[in-house]
Symmetry: D2
Subunit: 342 residues, 4 copies
Amino acid sequence: MTIRVGVIGAGIMGADHIRNLSRNIGSAKVSYVADVDRQRAESAAAVAGANPTTDPGELIASGDVDAVLIASHDSTHAELILESFEAGKPVLCEKPLAPSVEEGRRVVKADEEIIAATGTSLLSLGFMRRSDPGYVELKDALASGRVGDAVLVHCVSRNSASAPGATSESAVRNSAVHELDIIPWLLESPITEVSWHAGKPSPGAPAGLADPQLMLFRTANGVLTTLELFLNAEYGYSTRCEIVGEHGALSLVEPVSVAVDVERARSTGYARDWRPRFADAYRIELQAWISSLVPGAEGGPGVDRGSTLATARDGLQASIVADSVIDSMHNGGAWTAVGRIA
Amino acid sequence: MTIRVGVIGAGIMGADHIRNLSRNIGSAKVSYVADVDRQRAESAAAVAGANPTTDPGELIASGDVDAVLIASHDSTHAELILESFEAGKPVLCEKPLAPSVEEGRRVVKADEEIIAATGTSLLSLGFMRRSDPGYVELKDALASGRVGDAVLVHCVSRNSASAPGATSESAVRNSAVHELDIIPWLLESPITEVSWHAGKPSPGAPAGLADPQLMLFRTANGVLTTLELFLNAEYGYSTRCEIVGEHGALSLVEPVSVAVDVERARSTGYARDWRPRFADAYRIELQAWISSLVPGAEGGPGVDRGSTLATARDGLQASIVADSVIDSMHNGGAWTAVGRIA
Amino acid sequence: MTIRVGVIGAGIMGADHIRNLSRNIGSAKVSYVADVDRQRAESAAAVAGANPTTDPGELIASGDVDAVLIASHDSTHAELILESFEAGKPVLCEKPLAPSVEEGRRVVKADEEIIAATGTSLLSLGFMRRSDPGYVELKDALASGRVGDAVLVHCVSRNSASAPGATSESAVRNSAVHELDIIPWLLESPITEVSWHAGKPSPGAPAGLADPQLMLFRTANGVLTTLELFLNAEYGYSTRCEIVGEHGALSLVEPVSVAVDVERARSTGYARDWRPRFADAYRIELQAWISSLVPGAEGGPGVDRGSTLATARDGLQASIVADSVIDSMHNGGAWTAVGRIA
Amino acid sequence: MTIRVGVIGAGIMGADHIRNLSRNIGSAKVSYVADVDRQRAESAAAVAGANPTTDPGELIASGDVDAVLIASHDSTHAELILESFEAGKPVLCEKPLAPSVEEGRRVVKADEEIIAATGTSLLSLGFMRRSDPGYVELKDALASGRVGDAVLVHCVSRNSASAPGATSESAVRNSAVHELDIIPWLLESPITEVSWHAGKPSPGAPAGLADPQLMLFRTANGVLTTLELFLNAEYGYSTRCEIVGEHGALSLVEPVSVAVDVERARSTGYARDWRPRFADAYRIELQAWISSLVPGAEGGPGVDRGSTLATARDGLQASIVADSVIDSMHNGGAWTAVGRIA
């Protein structure tokens, strides 16, 4: 059986998802593409042999669409999710869940009503690092007990350059949010307290963006996490995570395939941005979502969606933590307690 | 459009291909599975919702089969390829092309007649390293000119343990054959001369298997390649390739995701065998093959099969070189000229 | 000319210094060894063909002693330095300068009077990391401008196990003190503000020792430094330092000589403690001190002691910062301003 | 006691030795410097406060010289060694022992007569790799049995550029000779058979120099060694050695202290030539030689010279193997048996 996916948003992320769904994902095809820009919708749809539209409602309602992938502007996420819920269609929504915690709560409420009624959620959230082979191996290695319980975590998240319009706050909500999701996932414990500190401002950063930033998180199980977020690190895209345990430490290794020896140095490359770095993660995430939608007999290709992909609650929780980080930022770096979902 | 694949051979490799085709490959499904062992055929078919059979001929002839994947015993390859040719169906055949050079020549002849008649080949050969992201990056890096022309290549191919029944000769034909294909592909020059040397016999090797072995290859462009093949290296599966150029050197980096610090050491893992090491390569190879079969309008998902996957001639050429290596082995290591295809 | 050194303290550090001075350092010999334990003094002296004593005053006063190396208990440092000053003899004193800031100030005052009178200091302080080839290369690389100005620094300092009697406070004064000295040296800017945070307590740590600890330092030039100090990291001794600059980053690489491939892993070793890790640094530091004492014509072997070895002021400044860190520790982690020397 | 060393030859190597002996080596001083170029002798002697001369015989005979270090032109080695023997003075001679095997045999004969008469040799040969911490750790790791017995060794020796006048033959005698000494030392087994093969000529190599070259060595214990020697590798100086054993493998790791992240790459540096790469080895070698000359009571600083430094026989044996490699080179790469010393 082939799952016919309607993709809303044909920007960089949407176009990548369309390419993946058309070519690299089993049991899927793209049947509809919606974008506010008609030309972009049409050219993206042409690649996949899909119907173009500028109206996401038409896509969601279409009988040719079994499932909806939302990759449009952040501000549209909550509404499109709720509309898909009403159509009874499963959704994979790019992070964030919603631009505001209030909207996020509405989505979670609707999601939980559906779960209560049907026993299953319609929503998966695109925190792709949960599907990255490195993070998965890191989590497995921690679970193996080889280094004992975690006591500290060090994260580093560096980009070559910040996106236009980035601010200290948007950097937390859009970039640090990946760690706000992955740390509780790795440690199986929610973040309960946060503290924010400015680095020395890099001359490459625009006004309004403290860059680099340092954040400290404490999870309910007592583990302290440090996160350096540096959007204008210039040299490349780099994501590090080290879990220090009672008996040893576990570290992500940046994926490299080839080493080059020239001019008195051995060198290996960094990704230019998150897309090559997490290309496998996006493909695996999409495949996990599609496979979970294929009605499968026992032993069939269906997998338990809940086990790998993030839920609405995960997305809301990450947004709540982001708000607390921003509170600390506006409050001299003081340790700030994180609110709970309900 | 979905390509319905009939898979012949449901052993380790066949089962992996079936799992991939069912779940991780776009535009494909497994419709038929043949194996000499009926139970194995049935259980493999059940995973994919396919028809089981013990008769490969039935599979090849079936109207439910658009394309044939051959993963059965080496001795059956040539005949099954020719049978698929007669049915006019595209084939992806696991290496080797054929157990003997003579049979290989028959396949190449048939293939070239089809190309002459139709303009396109029906056969792709499963030298999966050509689809490995590391080897692809290595070839691209060489082509970039950054290190100048190649002058030397060093290859190392180590396994934990040899397969039952392995001999010095079968090790060349089944294991070293990967380098016999990949070296000409990397250097874009055929191997013209070979020389074989025994290492000190490892106590882990069975009688009849010189292990480790050292082979030297010279390609038409003058480059000298060394290959250490060690099937009972015990410690793990490892594939290395370093291209030394006029101005620098390029090396494959073993893929690792996580580093572990315990007990006074930092360590990273080796694959236990070729399957995890080349899992991406197999998936990408399969996807490239399937994508090449989907009739695509310009800009559609179809790719040029010839550009990445090995051809019948590649397979035959590798077999001819293997024979020359074995000649050198039986002749005190003397440099031995390699015969040409025709 | 041979500098005859009197070594006070024949414990682990003293014995190492005696071995080095006897065998691996040019223009030096050990002429006197003092230790409160007569037997220890005698056996250490025998190795070097030196005079043993239990009275450091006798050693300092001896006509056979050109220079004094103090490696006795921390509580004795200040007094022994001052006694050496009175004898007009140059001193290399192991860190710390003095157990309390008050005593440290007395030493600095005496040192500055001597400088005022003679134009040269008699005191060098043993912060050996300043002589470690890695730290020296790191400092040079920063100075080269290749990564621009520093914006952030990340330090990690891990030991296998804490020394008996270690407390949260002693860990700062004895272990973190190395970073309290090396960070200003690397950045050429004093630490002006500090903040302390507890990690999740490791079960391996004794009561009274928060382990691991996280410290934040801000230097006068605005750079933010993080330091993880983990005395019971179990797996080995590890010292990391990464300087993140405007255009790139610089990291110390743990020195390793051999990689081992066994049992499905590649591994490299960690030092068991600071002595093998910093053996080169101690040797180079000692050599730099001795060379600075040899009266040399221009172009001769003498070097400018001030350029590499730490001064009394450096030692006092590190102690003052340590006190501020401990203040923050006792004050809920609040950012705490660091006092200045005078 | 201070050993007064007379250094013959004040070129690059000689000047380095003089600097080391003056500053970084315990119990030593340079008392005499001889060079054919009077100005060079004088300026090198001035650094050390030594007597300059153009007459090595004057140096050897001088009552101010306890031991002789020979770093003059290769063609002078044998004669100067024999002259030192006659003066009864211990000698450290840079490799090679002698320009020809015949002269080497004369030295060995004289050396063995002295040993027979006095019980101790006067000659140490400067194969400095035996004192390199990496090679020492490699040998120790092999001896530990962790990887079982060796079955294969892979060596790579790359330089940025060949010295003026280098030929295929001189490359073997002057560069490959380091491996001709170190392989038997590592494996504790002499090389008994050799085979030589040309790589594709690098355009950077001068006429008369086959570059790169590949050599195969078989030791008496059956182990096969490969050596790539590439003098015009351009990118840097690199020395690799991997010992493949029955259960695992051991590899030298190039020493690096700092990693640099800039411009989309992480890089670590290569040495520009052998001097920084083996600076520690030269220092340790010199120290071992000097320490062995200091008359020491039990437990004193004297060490057994024979255990680390190469002997006259080692030097002769390496020369004999080099001749066999050149025979193979002139004979189409055939395996060639190595002659024995006597």
